[in-house]
Symmetry: C2
Subunit: 149 residues, 2 copies
């Protein structure tokens, strides 16, 4: 696990068990040190050239992994009381070199887009079930920061 650039964000490489029929890819376990509660697991497909975001949640923590394709996840810390307020940082997620669990706590702005010409799949094992009242989003070109995709 690398030191977080934004306080509360964590990036932890996950195990891939290679097999000539197809690999087994770890994601998240109830006995993981990162585990708090299980709320919902779902997928967000990202087509080539597409970007999703910006969004931030008031209560939900995101736990992202990218089993198919490659994605850049851009983050921006706008939390009033954060020692890293004003920090922007991006992670590239995807096999083979960056198959990892990216944990994004509440109140961090995030957006993600594909890298390369393949569709990607982002899986999220969030700590609460989806609740449309606890998040806010803005169009990608009117987000909290300018970001070049």
């Amino acid at each position: 696990m690398t030191e977080p650039v934004i306080v509360g964000v964590s990036y932890r490489r996950l195990r891939v068990i290679e097999d000539d029929r197809g690999a087994v890819l770890h994601f998240f376990r109830s006995d993981s040190p990162d585990f708090t509660t299980f709320g919902e697991v779902y997928f967000s497909e990202v087509l080539p050239g597409a970007v999703k975001g910006w969004r931030r949640h008031r209560r939900q923590t995101q736990r992202y992994v990218v089993p198919t394709g490659r994605v850049r996840v851009a983050l921006y810390d706008d939390r009033d009381d954060s020692p890293t307020r004003g920090t922007r940082h991006a992670y590239e997620l995807g096999r083979p070199d960056s198959y990892a669990l990216l944990t994004i706590p509440p109140l961090i702005w995030y957006a993600f887009g594909t890298l390369g010409d393949r569709a990607a799949l982002v899986a999220n094992c969030a700590d609460i079930p989806h609740d449309p009242t606890e998040s806010e989003s803005t169009p990608i070109d009117r987000g909290p920061i300018d970001y070049v995709w």
Copy 2:
């Protein structure tokens, strides 16, 4: 939800929210009527032409979904006390017509292989974390039934 062919197995279609940047695909929530406990979520990739199995678990319930590619999951009920003992049944899982949650309870033998020429991704949101002592497996050609893939 269709009536189970094997007692305890369930197949429930899941929602796909289409979006021109890429769909959002439901998988599993803690407030779902199927929810018991969260143990572990992981992926099993299946390369074109590959088959994985046979396997059965003593304690773990599998909750499968196939977000990428298409898979046939073959099941065989060999439980001593089951009213459907001796029943074999297969499900084809994958988008667009069969994006569904397949729940496989303990003691059911299962195996799965790709359909078509694409790699597939099987996601499992199991009720306990992986424990190698609670499952048994046999090579695909020496399983509980003959099955033509």
